[in-house]
């Protein structure tokens, strides 16, 4: 997916993950929980805004969000699948 680095950059910038670079960001690392990036509920709102602002995609149900925001790869998959539609 050609836009994955761009997506990582948006996540780093919007969430102020200042100690990370796009290259260091493992696309399969869980975004939430102690074993992953440790993001929280406010970050979910920021991620929803990234999808809407940069990719024109709206998350309609919270249940859907849980799957989409598991990792950078799952977000990228969601973008790829829905932007083609």
């Amino acid at each position: 997916m050609h836009f994955i680095n761009e997506l990582k950059t948006h996540i780093i910038e919007e969430l102020n993950l200042e100690e990370l670079t796009p290259d260091e960001m493992d696309i399969d690392l869980p975004l939430f929980g102690d074993e992953g990036l440790g993001l929280d509920s406010i970050d979910v709102l920021e991620l929803i805004l990234i999808l809407e602002k940069y990719y024109g995609l709206k998350i309609s149900t919270p249940k859907e969000g849980k799957q989409i925001f598991r990792s950078v790869r799952t977000i990228a998959d969601y973008i790829a699948a829905n932007q083609q539609q």
Binding site: E14, L15, N16, L17, E18, E19, G38, D40, I42, L45, E46, L49, E52, K53
Partner: protein, 334 residues
């Protein structure tokens, strides 16, 4: 106030002043002489925030002024044995960069797609709450936003809590940041056209009614838009109330920063104490709503050794509107 209030801790994040280990290591000679023609803005010399705010998850959401205020508070509390019974903060303009970011996005995105973080962090009490979260202190927590008397209002609240026995120690502090936008707006409003200088800084103090220190915070007084003569009357009443003679004031920390539009009152007060050594500081810090907290910090640093001044009077006014006096006394003045 009947209760003796000691300043047992003090910290400052400020522009330019040479850093010395606190407390009580400064003398009046350490303050570079006042030169009014330097640049018209002063930015803080900031410490490495990672050393104080160790959790990267907490740090990443904090704007510069939040890190500045929280770090100053943590520095102040670093030597304290007990948790303060109150956290009282003061600011004139609050967390400006987050406010600007939120408002800018509001306009650019036509009131849609607004990021939650700048909104949450733009409130005036962000620093006070971050201090509470960081130190796990659930005590009384209040923030004063009263323009040029924000810091003094917080200080008065802290002093009243100690005098009323509501707490044994209180943390009182202020924070202010200078952003490019606020500097531009203030410049356009003409605040610096007659020699004024913009500034920023964060100062925190631990006040105690129980633990002793060399520096006693004796009293403070306010005056709202006085005439020069009313101001002198206020000063005389303040000294009388505290049973202090004019000649007892060994040092006057004056808020004169070279702004011609604000000079009249400073000149009046300085001439009223002809025998007193006058120290000025705004050529180092610039001017901002809560800058008198820097004067208090300076007073606490100068006071406390055997040969230090026994009584220091701090006088400041913000844009000729809010005038304040703070009286410091050495514990050794007995």
């Amino acid at each position: 106030m009947k209760e003796t209030i000691y300043i047992t801790g003090a910290s400052s994040i400020t522009p330019l002043l040479p850093q010395k280990p606190s407390p009580y290591t400064y003398t009046a000679q350490d303050i570079p002489p006042c030169t009014y023609t330097e640049t018209i803005r002063s930015a803080c010399k900031e410490p490495d925030y990672k050393a104080y705010i160790t959790d990267p998850a907490a740090r990443r959401r904090m704007s510069r002024v939040v890190k500045m205020g929280l770090t100053a508070a943590l520095q102040c509390l670093s030597g304290a044995g007990e948790m303060p019974g109150a956290i009282i903060t003061a600011t004139g303009l609050g967390c400006l960069s987050d406010t600007e970011k939120f408002l800018r996005t509001l306009i650019e995105n036509k009131e849609e797609l607004l990021n939650p973080t700048p909104f949450i962090q733009s409130t005036f009490n962000t620093v006070g709450s971050q201090i509470a979260i960081s130190t796990k202190n659930m005590a009384y927590n209040n923030t004063y936003v009263h323009r040029g008397v924000s810091f003094e209002s917080a200080l008065l609240d802290g002093m009243m809590m100690l005098a009323g026995g509501e707490a044994e120690s209180v943390l009182v502090g202020s924070y202010e940041e200078l952003t490019a936008t606020s500097f531009d707006i203030q410049s356009r409003l003409g605040f610096f056209r007659k020699g004024g200088k913009a500034g920023e800084g964060a100062q925190f103090f631990l006040l105690s009614a129980k633990e002793k220190s060399p520096c006693i915070l004796r009293d403070l007084a306010f005056a709202f838009q006085p005439t020069p003569d009313e101001l002198l009357e206020k000063a005389a009443d303040f000294l009388l109330k505290n049973k202090v003679q004019k000649a007892d004031i060994e040092m006057l920390i004056s808020g004169d920063g070279g702004n011609e539009e604000e000079f009249t009152f400073y000149d009046k007060i300085e001439k009223n104490f002809p025998e007193t050594q006058v120290v000025k500081y705004k050529h180092l810090t610039g001017d901002y709503q809560t800058v008198s907290s820097f004067a208090l910090w300076l007073g606490t640093q100068i006071m406390g050794k055997a040969d230090s001044p026994k009584k220091i009077l701090i006088y400041n006014h913000f844009r000729n509107i809010n005038h304040t006096f703070i009286l410091l006394e050495s514990r050794f003045d007995k």
